[in-house]
Symmetry: C2
Subunit: 139 residues, 2 copies
DNA sequence: TTCTTTGCAAATTCTTTGCACCGAA
DNA sequence: TTCGGTGCAAAGAATTTGCAAAGAA
């Protein structure tokens, strides 16, 4: 595997923030179209795919798009997903993992992994909505 | 809302089986292109969307496609997903629900719902693979 | 008749592929 | 020099939309 400017650029940006992202969000953080170290959309996808294979990132689907997260070496199976700002907050719970293993055993199911997504509205967005609503409520 | 042949046809087929399905799988079970009661692809999507709004079906994303399940009036938040045959087996667990509520509270997160997907290989597919492998192993 | 619903074709969105050129090694 | 890697354009797959014609009420 060759050390190219594109792979370096993507690597830098991907690991400059601990946040989840999709291909679109990543490209927004990469150098724009005129720059010397611009990275094209196909290369973004190809590079992300390589990083997943290399174990640097994990990929999963959300709302029909592919979302990537850093592979921190320990399980990150569980997420709070804000339906307003699309922010993901991750955690991992032995309770859920044990439960999943137990259910799999009962169904003679060979478990390869599991993922719990809790949908809702995050604290920030609730705050924002409350503030926005107040002036109207007072009329 | 008008009573059209298309809506009736889709309704019949959707509720003729308790299985999960995506738009493609549904259309395969609908009358083919020449038939009197053919339903076009856009109408399939529009009708499914109406059924979701009406509370007859629930929709969620899996592997980048939209998957529909019957809304049976009780929670079906948890699924075993076979990566081989794509079969979904559903269940619902108060443990996971309670856990989700508890985590949400800690994060001041307003929970709207949750979904646990356990990925792996179902009992049937394990059987099938074992059978297929045997002749080769004996050589 | 009226106004919703449908089918067709085309547009969108996200992702992947074909291919000629570029550039690490 | 040699292949692997890249950008562009185009292809795909899933879903949605514009619009004129069809058909419930």
């Amino acid at each position: 595997m060759r050390k190219t400017q594109q792979r370096k650029t993507v690597l830098d940006v991907v690991f400059s923030s601990p946040e989840h992202f999709d291909a679109d969000q990543l490209q927004e953080r990469l150098p724009p179209k005129g720059s010397t170290d611009f990275v094209s959309r196909p290369t973004v996808y190809r590079t992300l795919s390589e990083f997943v294979d290399a174990g640097l990132l994990r990929k999963f689907e959300l709302d029909g798009r592919s979302v990537y997260e850093h592979d921190l070496g320990y399980p990150q199976n569980d997420h709070l997903y804000c339906m307003e700002c699309r922010k993901l907050t991750e955690f991992s719970s032995p309770e859920v993992s044990n439960f999943a293993a137990q259910v799999s055993a009962v169904h003679q199911f060979q478990m390869r992994g599991h993922r719990l997504i809790i949908r809702g509205v995050c604290a920030d967005c609730r705050q924002r909505k409350r503030r926005q609503r107040r002036p109207v409520d007072l009329i």
